[in-house]
Structure formats: C-alpha cells, structure tokens
C-alpha cells in the first residue's frame, strides 16, 4: 500500500516540474463533420515542445514566448500550420482523414484513441444497436464483433443467452464475460425461478441508451479487470449530452410483426395413421418371427399383424376421443401451428432529450417497449428512464451522475422440458382435438395439453432495476486528475406464478408461488490519471487506483396450494403453505490497479498494467491474486520508409501478453457445509457440499498479436488478430465417489486452451457524391482444446456431452449411428471395433461432434443514395453440431410412444433392400430410445440477419417544417437462412454452463420480424 502512495506522490512532483511559460489552448476538430479529434499532436514548429489533444480534442500547451508557429499533425490527416500571433486560443480543423483512428475507445478506467491502443478491443457504436426489435443489446452484437460468439437460446423473449469471447475458457466456472455499465460491474447471471429456463438480466438495459459497447478481448485490454477478466469484458457506455448549446430531441417509434423462421413439419392425420398402422404391422411381423417355436402363439404372420393392428386401432380410437374419426382423418390438427401466435407484435417508443453547454450537459430518455414472442403467452415489456448529467464547476472540478431505471415484465411459459410448454405441443398426434365442443382445451389429447396451461396458468416475472453511478473528477493540475465513482446495481425481481386447478401439476387443488430476489451491488472506483507533458516525442499516461465491490443477494420464496378459487392468483389465495425460505449470500472484491501507456514519436507504443484482486470467494490463504499485462505497438506507417507510401496510409503492429483470472464459481465453495432439512418433527442437518480450502483463482494467460491497417487512401482498412489463451488451474467441479457422501468437489485441476484468428475488414467500395457502397466483413476462428483434466469425466447435466482431454469442450459423446440395415430396417451403430451392430449395448461411446463453432462472422453491405440507405447484414456460423434431443420422441418411428413424428419418418425403411437412413417404424419392437448421432446435425448456417431500408428527408425540406432530421425505415430480421439443421439453427436449450450446449429440446425457433419505424430529430 505504501508503495502505491509513494508512486502517486512521484506523479504529483513530476507534473509540477513540467509547469512552464506562456499558455496556449484550443480544440482540434475534423473539418468534415466538426467532431473532436483526440490524440492530435500539437507542436511548436521546429522544436520539441508539444502535447496531444485529450479525449475532447482539447489541448493545453506551454510555449516559449519566442515561438511563432504551431503545427497540428495527426495520422491520416494533412498537417496544418497556424501562426500564433499573440493568440492564446487556437482551434484547428483538420482535413481528410481516417476518423476511425482517432475514435475514442473506452478502456477500463479511462479512454484511449484507437491509434494509441495496443490491446484488442472491438467497439460497437450506437447506430448498430439502436432501433431494433430486440429485447436485449447483446443480440445486436451478434456477427458484428469478431471473436464474440452470441447464441440466443430460443425464440422465447427475455431468455438468457450464451456469450463467449474468444472461446470458452473454463469448464465448471462461469464463462460469460464481465459486464460493466458506466464503470459499474453489473449482475448478468440469471436470477429468479430456478425451475424455469434462465432469463436475462441484461434485458433491463435499454439498447437505445447505449452510446457504445467496447469488448475487451485480449489480456492487455482486460487485465485491468484482473480476477474477473478471463472471459473478456464488455464495457457499456451510455449516451451523454454534448456541450454545444443545442437541445436535441430524438424520437423513435417502431412497430413490428413476427413469425417463426421455420416450422419443422410433422405428420398430418393421414400420414400419422398410415405410419402408426405400419408400425403395428411391423410389430406383428417381428413378433411372429421371434415367437417361441415350441409354443407358437400365431400360425400365420397375418394373425400376428392383425393382433397388433387391432391393438393399435384401439389406441387410435381412444386418441380420437372414442370415435372412428381417425379413419376419415376428420380431425387433422396442426399442433405445431397452435404453439405460435398468428402474428406476434412488437411496439417500441423512445424519446431522448440531450444537450447542454460548456458547464452542464445532460441526456435524458424514456423508453417503452412491448414485445410478443412468436410463441403463445410469452411476452416481454420494458419501461425505463435515464438521466445522465454532468456539471463542470470550474476547470478543476467536475462531477456527474449516470442513472438508469427500468422495469420489465416477462410473461413466461414453462421450461422446454415440460409438457406444459407450447414447444412440446408438437408431440400431440394430429388426430387429437385441441379443444372440446365447449371451446375448452382438452386436458390430455395424448399428453397434457399446453393449451390448458396457457389458459389456466400464469407466470409473471417483474424486475425493477437501477443501475447508476455518481462521479467526481478533480484536476489537481491539467495533467493530473483524480476520479472517484460510487455506483450501484440494484436488481429486484419478483416472480408470481399460478397454476389453476385445471393444470396438470396442480390438478384439482391449484398451486401458486412467489419469489422475491434482490441482488444489490455497490461498487466504488477511485483512481488518479496522470498525463505529464513530456514534449512531442514522448507521451505518457498513468492510471492508478483502487476498486471495491460488494454484492449481497437476498431472496425468499413461498409456495402454496389448495386454492378455493382461481380468481386469486397469488399465494394469499392458497390455503396450505407448502414451502418457503429465505437466502442470503455475500461476496466482495477488493482490487488495486495500475496502468501505464507510453508512446514515443507516435511510432512506438508500450503499455503495462497490473491489478491485484482479493475475493471473498476463496479461503483466507488464497484470497489474493496478481494480474499483470503488457503490450507493445509499432506504427510502421509513421516510419520514414512508409511515410510517403501512396497506398499504405496506416499500419500498426501490436502484441500483448498478460494474465487474467476467473472466480465465478459461486460463493463459499472452499468450505465443507451442511444444510438444514425439514423431515417432519425431526429438524436435521444434511451434507451440502464438500470443500477444498486450497481452492484459488483460475488463471488465463493470453498472447495476442495484431495488425491494423489502412490502404488505398484508407478505402480498405481492417485488423487481424491472432491469440493464444492458456487457462491453467481450472476451477473444476470434479466428480468424486458418491460413496464419500458428496457428488463432487471444486478443485483447481487441469488446463484448457483457446487459439484463434480474428479478421475485420472494412472497404469503401464506391465513394461518390450521391452513391456510396461500403462493405464490412468480420471473421473469427476459434479452436478450443481441453488439454488436461486429470482423467476426470465431466459431463453435461443430460450426460450427452463431455469435456474430454484432447478434444474441444462440450463434445457430444455417444454411439455413432451407422444407418439402417437394408435387410431388416434395423437401426445400426458402430461397435468398438468399428463394425456395424444392431445391438445398442454393443455400440461404442465416442466423440461424434461438438457444440461450439469453428468459424463465426458477419458481412455487412451498406448502400446510400441521396437520402436512401440500405443495409444488408448476413451472419454465419460454421463447424458446430446441434443435437435434437427431442428426436428420441419425435423422429423414432413411434418406438417411444405415439408422439407425432417429423416428416422425415416418411422415408422409413419398408421392405428388404430399401436404402434409407430412417429405420423401420415399430411401436413395441422399435429402436433404442437411447442417444446416438442419429439425431446429431450439422449446425452451420448463414442467415440474412437484417435488411434495413431507410429514407431520410432532405434537410432542405426539413427546414420548412422545423425539424433537424426525419428518417423512415423498414427492416427485416432473419429473413433467409441456409442450414442443414432441421429446424432453426439458433436454438440452444442450455445457455448456461460450458459443456452442455447446442441441444434442441422442443426449443422455440427464432423470430422472423418485419418492423417499420420512424426517427424524428427536433
């Protein structure tokens, strides 16, 4: 600690020495659009006296009184010389340049110009996030940021997503990135009902309030977040007002209509009946062929067939409601269609007002959105407001507040793994009726009818969230400032659910539950920033400070049953309280950090950062971790041999190395704990978990080498990165013998790696007066490998997937399907020696696929012609598999029940010699219901994610109606998809966890949406 303060002292002294004679000040802007240019070198001509502009484009320079001229120079812009001539304020507007390089990038505890950055950071700006029919902003990053893989779990709204930055770096700890909103690390893990599919706390943030999202990918960029950075860091900066004395009012209205991208297609009544009877006939043939010769039951095959067909006809009659309608296909219900709304509507309205002057700037906004899921019942609404306020008291002191509040209402359907969820309605046979003559949903056509649930159950999750921080900036001297921030993320969630007497799980009694969760994070950041003026050749920026975060989770829940009436839908209507409890959990992080950025002549850049973190999640001896990172950059285009190149405008090589950590395993995992139980009359204690006191951080080291370039007058620009992430001391939830009384132990075992390449290319294909065409391509390749787990077998919850040494995480581990025996229609598998067998028990369990893709990316083409703009965006994923877990019910030729079957079953084997990959159908004597690669599909896809056509009314027209801007647009999402998968390829019933993924279990497909919108600026 002492060292830290002595360093701060030195900084103070240094800055005082640099005080000098006459003061010059001013602001440098881009001549093209008047925006501020940070990082511009301002230098007295023919001397070494100089400085660079700060993030607002402003500079302060002490010049010798003899100086006559100052020079503004900046990469990609033409130099500009200005005579001082006694002025004390000199502004400059620089001509023609590549603005991207001067773009301000938010990094941890500060900002940097893109050109000075030596780490790997992807910035997504507001215009890529705004005004889309999305419930949460991450959706908009999909395919936009190379190396960031985003998987929406399903077409349900408000659901959690799986997000990986540069691959999965842990097996048992969390691998989702850290999210920081205006300096406050926020809660992003699902809260609330653990018995339903996880929801997404990030949906509380209004996407339209976001100014930029920076994704910190390499260690150099992220290590300043130390123990929490191994999965990458996503910095979210909200919009603020500009001090230009103007008040801007921005109104956005949009409305949309959505449908499923794809219906899977199931048998209709005729096909169903034919196939079911064929199954019965096959049963008869099989039974006849396999009967005991000593004591035969049937004398002819036809007798056996008749026996089984008659039994089946009884079943069909019973499904048909006791009549013979099944024979005439009178009832032909398309259950799949019933699961979806005819038309799902989305409405959104946003209003923001921003403005201010040199002293006070503000941004205020209000939002309302109402999004119906394509699936029935499911709906998400959000109301929110934001106020960002900043006041500059004097040149030394400024302070401000960023505050966002929101309320969301999510009307939920049950988990994918329940008869009561609409997605499972496809299991009902087409010959069953969804509703009876009175219009009441039929209770049990074959299985419990989800339409009963839709009518008589209710599940509403409401969150109320406040994310905000207050800050104070104090400039001791122009080069030394101190910033203190206190922020909070207060997340309140209630979930009221009710099951009426008519529903399956509360049949005859009615059940209700109420959940209340509060998750409160308090965070403070306090740090010094020191930018001494060291002349034009040297530039140094230092940041040092501390941060403390504490989180308290408080939750309670109560369940009750025996409702005298359905009219009261909360627990107060329950006569019998069946359970309830409360829960408290705390964690805290205490951290110190330091960062230095140095550059010499704008050519050679070096950066170093160090963070020390203490976490309550580990035992007293293992609490602290140290996370250093360093990086170097070389701007080749500033070297003499390239400076005058006609076609190379910008070329930078950078490399970084650093350590980051992961502590996301939940609390108290190092302790052996007992929990209270409630056996009637005998209150007792049972085992809860086994602990390892030696438990400590998971460490990830990462090397990154990157090349940034701009060619041909910056018409072609981009970035290429190579990275190598090595994770050691994995926080592994290792299986232990159950004979110990405990299923597993969290312990630091094993190694994992992620290697990859990221490419981002931006091309201005046509730059004209009226017509412009530009293309952006981003591509990322990631290769994950579990290097060592000490022989442990670590499986997903459904045991379909594993972490296997030498393989990427989450490989599907099951028998390999070998097609169909043309002789008898049997399902075949490969045995240990690679031979085909029809005996499932002889089949060899092996790696048959993987859930994470190799390649991901996006391609955007933007055209503008006069007032028209057209944006066409494709995203794609390659190299992953999807396992249709529902296949064992819906694509198995009735061997696992009378569930309706997918259309591919029509291609079943029928007679000797048939070549097909769909085995014969049979009800009693059918195939193994057990997992095999039979239901594993290539999950690669390319998708037309978005097409937007907009028209902005010309300024000349607008001035007559006193508007600053008016744009109308129509946009389509998920309009076209190419994939080999049988349903929507963007499905994943397991968004949480690292091993399980890429599994479709009656999962709702994505929405295909058309929206029209209006954007007015006053």
């Amino acid at each position: 600690m002492l060292r830290f303060f002595s360093m701060v002292g030195m900084l103070l002294i240094l800055s005082i020495f640099s005080f000098a004679q006459v003061q010059l000040t001013g602001k440098v802007t881009d001549a093209k659009d008047g925006s501020a240019l940070p990082g511009v070198t301002v230098k007295v001509k023919n001397s070494n006296v100089g400085t660079i502009t700060d993030a607002t484009g402003t500079y302060h320079l002490s010049v010798p009184s003899k100086a006559t001229t100052i020079v503004f120079s900046f990469i990609g812009f033409a130099d500009q010389e200005v005579a001082i001539a006694g002025q004390s304020t000199i502004n400059a507007a620089l001509q023609s340049g590549n603005k991207d390089l001067s773009e301000v990038i938010v990094v941890g505890y500060g900002t940097l110009a893109k050109r000075d950055l030596t780490g790997s950071v992807t910035k997504i700006s507001a215009k890529e996030i705004e005004n889309q029919p999305i419930s949460t902003f991450e959706t908009a990053l999909q395919g936009k940021a190379p190396g960031v893989v985003i998987e929406s779990g399903s077409g349900k709204v408000g659901q959690a997503m799986k997000i990986r930055i540069r691959g999965t770096s842990s097996i048992s700890a969390e691998s989702q990135p850290l999210y920081v909103v205006d300096g406050v690390p926020i809660v992003s893990a699902p809260q609330g009902d653990v018995n339903n599919d996880p929801t997404n706390p990030l949906a509380d943030i209004n996407p339209n309030d976001i100014e930029s999202v920076e994704v910190l990918k390499d260690a150099s960029a992220s290590a300043i977040y130390g123990a929490r950075a191994a999965n990458g860091v996503v910095l979210i900066t909200t919009k603020r007002g500009k001090g230009n004395d103007k008040t801007n009012v921005d109104l956005n209205l949009s409305t949309g209509w959505a449908k499923p991208t794809k219906l899977r297609g199931f048998l209709d009544a005729k096909e169903y009946v034919e196939l079911v009877l064929e199954a019965a006939s096959n049963d008869g043939k099989y039974a006849f062929a396999h009967q005991d010769p000593a004591n035969p039951r049937w004398t002819t095959e036809q007798q056996a067939i008749d026996y089984y067909q008659n039994r089946m006809k009884n079943n069909l009659k019973s499904l048909s409601g006791g009549n013979d309608d099944w024979q005439t296909y009178k009832t032909n219900t398309n259950w799949e269609k019933l699961a979806y709304r005819d038309q799902a509507h989305t409405n959104q309205a946003d209003l923001s007002i921003s403005g201010g002057n040199a002293k006070t700037r503000f941004y205020a906004s209000g939002t309302y959105s109402d999004q119906e899921a394509i699936v029935i019942v499911n709906r998400f609404k959000r109301y929110g407001g934001r106020l960002n306020l900043e006041h500059t008291a004097n040149e030394k002191l400024s302070f401000g507040l960023n505050l966002g509040v929101s309320r969301t209402e999510l009307t939920r359907v049950s988990t994918d793994n329940a008869f009561s969820t609409p997605g499972q309605m496809v299991a009902q046979p087409p010959i069953t009726k969804p509703y009876d003559a009175n219009g009441e949903p039929v209770y049990k056509p074959l299985y419990y009818n989800a339409l009963v649930e839709a009518k008589y159950a209710k599940d509403l999750q409401v969150t109320f969230r406040t994310i905000g921080n207050a800050y104070l900036n104090y400039n001791f001297i122009p080069s030394l400032s101190f910033r203190s921030e206190i922020g909070a993320d207060i997340y309140n969630l209630t979930d009221e659910s009710f099951l009426g007497k008519e529903t399956q799980d509360a049949r005859g009694i009615g059940k209700g539950s109420s959940i209340f969760d509060q998750n409160a994070t308090i965070n403070t950041n306090n740090y010094f920033t020191f930018n001494p003026q060291l002349g034009t050749d040297h530039s140094l920026s230092l940041v040092a400070g501390m941060s403390y975060l504490q989180n308290r989770y408080n939750g309670n829940w109560v369940t009750g049953e025996d409702y005298p009436t359905n009219a009261i839908k909360n627990v107060s209507g329950a006569v019998n309280i069946t359970g309830g409890s409360s829960n408290v959990q705390d964690y805290a992080f205490l951290s110190y950090f330091f960062r230095a950025n140095y550059n010499y002549k704008k050519k050679y850049i070096a950066s170093f950062s160090l963070r020390s973190d203490g976490s309550s999640r580990f035992g007293p001896d293992k609490r602290y971790g140290l996370f250093p990172a360093g990086s170097l950059g070389w701007v080749l285009s500033e070297e003499d041999f390239l400076k005058d190149s006609k076609w190379v405008n910008y070329l930078k090589l950078r490399a970084s190395y650093g350590l980051t950590g992961n502590a996301e395993i939940g609390n108290n995992k190092y302790l052996t704990l007992l929990q209270v139980n409630n056996y009637p009359g005998l209150p007792g204690l049972n085992a809860f978990q086994l602990g390892d006191p030696r438990l400590h951080w998971e460490n990830t080291s990462q090397v990154d080498v990157g090349l940034e370039f701009g060619f041909f007058d910056n018409r072609l620009s981009g970035e290429v990165d190579y990275y190598n992430k090595q994770t050691t001391d994995l926080l592994l939830r290792a299986n232990q013998p159950l004979t110990s009384g405990y299923p597993y132990l969290y312990t630091n075992v094993g190694k994992m790696e992620n290697k990859g390449v990221e490419i981002m290319l931006s091309s201005k294909n046509i730059v004209g007066k009226d017509f412009n065409w530009s293309t952006t391509l981003n591509l990322a390749y990631n290769k994950n490998k579990v290097k060592e787990i000490n022989g442990q077998v670590v499986e997903s919850s459904d045991r379909l997937q594993r972490a296997v040494e030498g393989q990427p995480i989450g490989v599907f581990y099951m028998p390999k399907y070998a097609g169909v025996d043309p002789d008898n229609g049997d399902e075949l598998f490969y045995d240990a020696s690679g031979k085909k067998t029809n005996d499932y028990t002889q089949a060899e369990y092996q790696v048959v696929g993987k859930s994470n893709p190799d390649w991901t990316g996006g391609l955007t083409n933007t055209f503008t012609y006069k007032g028209f703009d057209l944006n066409i965006f494709f995203s794609f994923v390659e190299g992953n598999n999807i396992y249709n877990l529902a296949g064992q019910y819906q694509s198995i030729g009735f061997a696992n029940g009378l569930d309706n079957q997918t259309k591919d079953q029509l291609n079943r084997w029928q007679k000797k010699g048939d070549i097909t990959d769909v085995p014969r159908v049979a009800y009693y004597t059918g195939e193994a219901h057990a997992p095999s690669s039979r239901w594993l599909y290539d999950g690669s896809y390319i998708r037309l994610k978005n097409v937007t056509l907009g028209y902005s009314i010309p300024k000349s027209v607008l001035s007559h109606i006193k508007l600053n801007g008016l744009r109308v647009y129509v946009a389509g999402y998920n309009l076209w998809t190419k994939t080999k998968y049988i349903s929507d390829p963007e499905v994943n019933t397991y968004t949480q966890g690292n091993i399980g993924g890429g599994v479709d279990f009656y999962t709702v497909p994505q929405a295909k949406t058309i929206t029209v919108g209006l954007n007015v600026k006053f």
Partner: protein, 458 residues
Amino acid sequence: MKYGIKYIGGLLLGATMLITTSCNKKLDVLPGTQVPTDQIKNENDIQAILFGGYKSLQNYDGFGERFLFVTDLYTNNNVIYTGTFQNYADVYSQTVAENSTIASGMWGNAYEGINGMNLVLSRLDLVSDANKKAIEGEAKFIRSVFLFELAGIYGLPYSNGNVTTNLAVPIMTKPVLSGDDLGESKKPRATVDELYKQVIADLKFAADNLPESYDTKKDMARANKYAAHAFLSRVYLSMGDYKNAAEEANTVIESGAYALVPDWANEFNNTTFSTEDIFAILQTSQSNAGTSNNGLVTFYSFDQRGEVLVDPAFVELYGDGDKRKSFYTVLDPETMTSNKWRDFYGTIPVIRLAEMYLTRAEANLRGGTTIGDTPLNDVNTVRTRSKAAPLTTVTADDVVNERRLELCFEGDDYWTNKRLKLNLGQLAYNADKAVFPIPLRELQVNPLLKQNKGYREK
C-alpha cells in the same frame, strides 16, 4: 486555491486509504444459509445430523419413491409403465443405462445418508453417556438399512450362494469431512458375506440399544427396537435363515406394540404412523419425496401422472369380497391404477406388521419351525383383516402368493423373487441384467470398483 488543492487532494487520499482498510475485512464472508462442519460442537448438532438420516431415507432416491417403486418396475410382475421418463422406462424394460440417473441417484443418496451416520458415529464423544448407545444404535440402523437395500439392488442376492465371492457394495464406516478424506471413499465392493455381516451386526446393536418407543409424538418417526428386529427378519429371510427370520418377526409380533389396522384401506395415505407401521416415512406438504416429477403418488395415482398401470390379470388373483381387490381405480378394464399411493403427503409404510405375520408363517413353513402362532393362523390373520376368505390349508407358496397380494407396490416382489430364485419378467433371478449397474460415474472415479457383469465399464 492552492490550499484547496492540498486539502482536497489529502482528503481524497485519506478517503481512499480508509476504504481500503475497511474493505479488507469485508472479504471475510460466511455462508448465510449453511453450516461449516467446524461448527459441529455439541450433542444437539450430532442429533441434528442423525435426524438428517431420516431425510435421506425419505428422499425419492430412498424409501420416498425409488426403493419401493423401481424395484417393482424391475420385477415386471404386476405393473405396466406407460410414462415418458426415459430413465424409468429403461428400468421397466430392464435395460438400465450405466449412466442412469436412477442408478446413480439411489447410490448417491444412500451414501450421503451413510456418511452422515458415520459422522455421528465418529463424534459420539460429544454425546452424553445416557444417550450415547441409543444414538449409536439409531445411526447404525439407518446405515444398515441403506447398505441392505443397496446390496440387493446392485449385487446378486444372497440366495445365489458364492457369498464370499459375489460382490455387494462398498461398506463405508468412516466419515468424509474434507477433500483430504476422499481417499477413504475409494473402497472396493464388499462381498455379500461381508456386507450381510456388517448389516446384521449394526441391526443387532440397534435392536439391543434402541428404546421400545419414544415419549414424544415428535419422535414417533424415529427407529425403535422393533424396527431393527423387523429389518433383521427381512435380512434373515433373504438369507434363507428361516429360523432367525421367524424369531425376529415373532419378537415384533409378540411385543404387542403393533396391531393390524382393522380396515384395510386405512393402512394407506395416513398423515401419521398407523398402529400397523413398524417403520415408515412421514411426509407433509412441506417435506415430501416430490409432488410433480417424483414421489410414489406422482406415478401411481390416477389423478396425477397415472403412468403406472396395474396388470388386470393381477387384480383377478384376489378373491371376491377381498377389500384389497377393490383398492384399485378402474378407468377401463385395461386401465387400472392402485389406490395405495394417493396422497402426496401421506405416510409411506416401509415395514408393517402384516409382513411380520407373513414372514413368520413362511419361515416356519420353510424352516420347519413352530415359532409363535401357526402359519395358517398367521396368513388368515392377514386375510381376514381385508375380508378375504380364510384359507384352510397353507403351503409356503401360498404364503408367498399372499405376500404378493398384501404387499404389492410396496417394493416387496423384487426381494421375494430374488430370494426364491424366481424370474424377474423374462430375466432369471441371477441374470446379468437382473441387477442395476454400478453407476458409471463411480467406476470413473474409483478404480477399485468392479462393474456388474453385462454392463459397460466406461
């Protein structure tokens, strides 16, 4: 302003330092809802851990459901499973996967219970002398009941002979308290002989040291002396040690502590122990084995999932007038369900007096002994209670038939078939697949374990 700078600067530095020191302590966070094991300090704590054993018995992986239910599914005697849960369907079709959650669930829950009991047994120093033996007996009762159940589920039955080579399950006698004790848990499977010896020793100790009854109603559910005797009668019966089986059953009957419930239907779906229940599992609306995806009622009751149908041919075996015959819900002649498990919060009899009569009768007949009343009287005692016509003569096989009619859906058939070397459906009693697989995950973490024949080892 210069002073101002110093002042503010100093203040900020000071504040930073203050936050830093006060925050350091905040890293000491204790769990809010669980107890670290170093907090076990007195007899109360030990008793609480002992009571935890009853929760493990109540679990759906114990007597709350699976010990009674999946054994009946496996036996294929009188139930028809029509549900969609793959893991149960696999039990019914006798193709249990090595990674079945049922196989690993019952195993894991039992050893969780056993570990708790070993923790109690290792800290008897905290218990007052007056209670020491009784607590020791109670912990040993629970431990032995779990071991006995596991031995029958995962290993060949005693009746198969070769008891010194046939494998049962590992016997755990020391508690695992931290990661450092894990080596202790990696034991090989004990032989059937070793396991039965351990179980008998534990149960005998319990029978000798447990009280005849408990004073307070709250303690009603705790195992007493007769619960231990009753289990001993089961153990001896499965060993074919008929004399001891009859003796132990006789001890329970002769104690006079229990009486058959006069009206058959009142033995089930009670909120408390009946006069007939020697050992049972209590359930309430707040503490039960499951109400939507688990629990006997979920599967058996026609107004719940109703996925377990009763073979109509079985129901035909009851004579007319037998109250047990009408204890079914008949939806149509092909579709009927048992009424034994109708109340989610009802008590689950684990071992009841009727079984003692039937055990004494059969054991006397097979062992040629005359312990207690005559076999004919014993069987008729059970029959007349449910208004079935009394038998005039009785053979051992008659008693077994009576046992099936009386104890159906209570998990008895599995044990009966195995001890009498009768088939389980198509499988011979000692066929490879007539036992559950040792859970695959156990083999993966404990190289000393051996898989049952016919099942995958990896």
